[in-house]
Symmetry: D2
Subunit: 354 residues, 4 copies
């Protein structure tokens, strides 16, 4: 069958025929419907993500970890035509967190990730999957379920935010988050999904970027009753919650001393390339203000399940706006080109499999 194939750590990507001969012991056969592309995919294609590697015994890797699939042959729990999304990371099997199904907190680092490290991804016509790693999603998500994988990472980060903020009482005096302002740095797919999820939790949301918004970004931001700030013009951000999706220390370090008392900072971005100084005065402010900062990566199966619920909520609340996050749909043959070069105005580009 056709698959989109890379050879990390070498640069490059191609469509080719593969025959994976996977063992089918209790697995579910799934037809790929949509595949999302993200910065990680492009990092692998460019040869820059040095941790990417083929599965043992292979000299190539099938790309793809953002997936919407349809069951072809199921079992008692999965029926043909069920829509499914596979989780990305598979645990090491030895550390406690992996034994608990929290491979997103794997302590050994000996996990695999489909389409990224040590396991084939889903940018192929069909794949077999262990039901343990499959999340069924409702049919109403047929068009946008491919967004579940990135959204699951947002859900994990926000669940963790709520968990760590239980260190004190951080809700408002009406029990909600209505008095809290979140600033989201970056207006890519992750930034916009964070913004939607935070609006849904009741936060005021400011999306910030160092450039003006694109028309689609503006439409989404307005549609969810958030606001957009161009940080090259406006600097006075005083968030209760700061979410960095950029990975650039220069984007978030200057805002750290302005985060309000007891506030939180989520570090999510990993793509930056620079160095920015933290002063002792900044440190004093972090201490005096009880600021908490945490990096968040990956998601558990529960985060996928709750993410699917959230996606249904967003679709019910915002309708077409959710679909607009998918700015382009390409065929398989066009995929290598858009994997090499971001589409102008892109939020999320997806591959349609026939």
């Amino acid at each position: 069958m056709k698959a989109i194939v890379v050879r990390p750590p070498q640069e490059g990507v191609e469509v080719r025929d593969v025959n994976l001969e996977e063992p089918n012991n209790g697995k579910i056969l799934i037809r790929t419907k949509l595949s999302g592309m993200c910065g990680t995919d492009r990092g692998i294609v460019s040869g820059k993500l040095t941790f990417s590697r083929p599965p043992d015994g292979y000299d190539y890797l099938v790309l793809g970890h953002e997936t919407l699939g349809e069951v072809v042959e199921g079992n008692e729990h999965f029926k043909p035509k069920d829509l499914v999304v596979p989780v990305v990371r598979r645990g090491c099997g030895t550390c406690l967190n992996c034994k608990m199904g929290r491979q997103d907190f794997c302590e050994t680092g000996n996990f695999t990730e489909i389409g990224i490290r040590g396991a084939h991804g889903t940018m192929r016509e069909e794949f077999l999957e262990d039901p343990r790693y499959l999340v069924r999603i409702p049919s109403v998500l047929r068009d946008v379920g491919v967004l579940l994988e990135p959204l699951s990472n947002v859900v994990k980060a926000l669940n963790e935010m709520e968990a760590v903020q239980r260190r004190t009482w951080w809700s408002c005096d009406d029990s909600t988050y209505s008095c809290r302002t979140a600033v989201v740095l970056g207006s890519g797919p992750i930034g916009l999904l964070f913004s939607m999820a935070l609006r849904n939790l009741g936060f005021e949301v400011i999306v910030a970027n160092k450039r003006p918004p694109s028309p689609v970004e503006m439409e989404v931001v307005n549609g969810i009753n958030a606001s957009f700030v161009n940080t090259s013009e406006h600097k006075e951000l005083k968030p209760d919650l700061l979410v960095d999706t950029s990975g650039h220390p220069s984007a978030f370090i200057p805002i750290l001393p302005k985060v309000k008392k007891n506030g939180a900072v989520i570090l999510f971005g990993t793509t930056g390339q620079e160095n920015y100084g933290l002063t002792a005065e900044d440190v004093t402010t972090l201490v005096e203000n009880n600021i908490i900062i945490f990096g968040s990566v990956n998601a558990s199966k529960l985060d996928f399940e709750m993410g699917a619920n959230l996606l249904v909520t967003l679709l019910g609340k915002y309708g077409e706006l959710v679909n607009k996050l998918i700015t382009k749909r390409v065929g398989v043959e066009e995929a290598p080109e858009v994997l090499r070069r971001k589409v102008p105005g892109e939020i999320k580009t997806v591959i349609e499999w026939k």
Copy 2:
């Protein structure tokens, strides 16, 4: 009565007679037995702590927030001769955290702190105190109870550490912390109290400083079965928990990327004066490893009460070692001199009131 007086933001300190004429509505009269000195006191004396200020209506401030007192005239709950320690911060009265008695998480900043900002401290022969702010401690703490105030801040930070780490399972597979290593940067009183408290929780502990240990430091470190690392010679620290008591970005930032997966970093120090760069690669590591970093300041009354229990435990376990943290006892007349200049080899210097 005699008191140790400062005039922030001016430099200087003196012993003088004061007559405070405080209203005694239900307050407890307390005789000061011991006063501890810390970096904050010296910062005020040097004129560098710009947030320090006298109470409204005064042009001077009685210094002192580390206290061991003895009740002179009590009430139904406090009897004469009871040993007591006052909490330092008094809430703003308006934010939710202050209403909950968690003024250490005050959101408005409109709190006062005795001996520091807006309220007279306890470096005086006697003081009146609202019982709400008083913690009674057992008589076995007669000699070392003056350490409770700094210890309470350690207790708050470690309680918060345990709270935030509930985001996942971070204990070892025998339910304890026996598999976790804490690195404590700094071997001053706070560093050693953190080390003792962490040993008591079951952590392996490494005390790190950029110089060799003093004999007393070495005795304490050995006595609690911890180890000492001179970071000017040895750099390879891979902690699960990193506690910075230095406030120097250059001390802790280089260790951040080496903190183990799911690890935590407590920022406690506020005295540094420098700038150190955080790279985008560091940020990626924080994200990929789910690292959490938080600043911690002050303590609740509960932290004082649990700190008193902890101090009794430490005394029972380590005996004389706890007393050795008090490296010098001076009379009131000598106090200004040691408040201006740290005593060589000092861990904690205290003032004995007659």
Copy 3:
């Protein structure tokens, strides 16, 4: 305007014209669209709910606490045509939980509840409401938003269940609840909403009643992939989570010793009238199995907001099934009759206001 009026503790209910002359300081004018009826309303009408009372200065009480309204005159946050649902309980203003917006945990008991105790309800054509007590809901909930109030109580109970079960690791080894079975005693509106919410969290769900299901009940139970057990025929229930919506000790006490280790029991029902024995052997089983049992009442504003999100999710997943919970819609004039006597086959009866 027309209102449905009771005179607790007297029996009886009538439609009459009222003129409440409420002060409008910053309040929102709302037109009532739908009012739900529940056991509490019928308890008041029957004169059996002895805690029900009119507001101060009134000798009657406008009934109604399950509401869907539409804004007539709003403010900067609420626009005309916005759909809104008011929360029911309003805090005492003095206890900490009420100050935190958690009036559902009020410690003094000095709260009021609209349509129940000390405050007029919403079974009237229009009402003025403080925005602090109003939850805006998305327009997609136009037909079923009247279910939000009962659902909010379910959300509170399940949030609390998740909170208390953090005492240990209770999720399955894939991080979800897929290995957990919930038994819900009672198939009324609360029982079915619990069942839907629990399916949505990933639990296996068994709805139990001591009679066969009605056709609508069966349709809902099948539609959410739950199962129904007639407990008069089948007794062997071994839940991980037991939810009692009946209030009958004879319904849940016999199941207590069968709840699985580390399991939880939610007591939600308050309408029973009997006595059932707990044996010392039962107590031993509760101890040996670490069973947790808790009563849950009311909901916070956050529970309403999250309940609105959940209702959108349920509507997206189950579509028409949610509407089927509303088994009858009556006009205002018919309301007194159905408030006196339950409609056969009723799940939820609602009043349509013109």
Copy 4:
């Protein structure tokens, strides 16, 4: 060597010579110093505890699970003369809680417990123990460390109480528990240890029994500033926290409706033999008041470690009072008699091994 031996489920107990021939792979050789006796031991001796059983391959069981031992031959972590206490329960090895070292929450029931079910206890001159199950305690606990095992169960229950009460804000408005009253039903060793631990957390404590206190009980209750209530004379108990150590439904069920709003009930006792009715009105009160009730059994290794710290605190605060909980010390030859029949006025009877 000499051991105290039972043959469950048969009645009876004897001192005899045993030769266990245990494999010594990495185990620590320990000399037993003191063994505590409790209701479980007497239940086994009387033949009433039907779950008690010898280890596989044996027709007898060495009794004993409350232990203070001294290391004879150690390893790098345990030195000769170190005082140690073994944990009681050893996990099933298969469920998640056991993998996490939380065998006190074992889900399969396939655990063993030394001296109780499936594993020899420590009422013998010496035993070999896997270091994983050993807790070292400070030398200051030489006389009272035998109380650690019962105390560890108290620590587990109170930790769990604090965990589940995080469902809302239950501390007082000064952050402590000073406004909370705990009623402890039963004044045996467990009742008094709960009382001491709760005083140490800052609760007001009322010890209740249906008879007048013994002189030692009165001394302990007075010494910790608690009070004693004879429930046969005085019934009006309104606790925030109710701890039942009796196992009698008739002791705690009548108090359930009087537990204050948001209060908690710990069920710890397992020895009662009766039946007492719970009314629907009681259930309504539990619901309306958000009452939480949980059974608590056993303890994790962390609970033992924190229990050792607590015991040092209690010894430092209360001195001789802790020792007074040990009301009698007997030699090995006398042990069978006191295992058959409780000593009048007994709180805790211990066996001294030479």
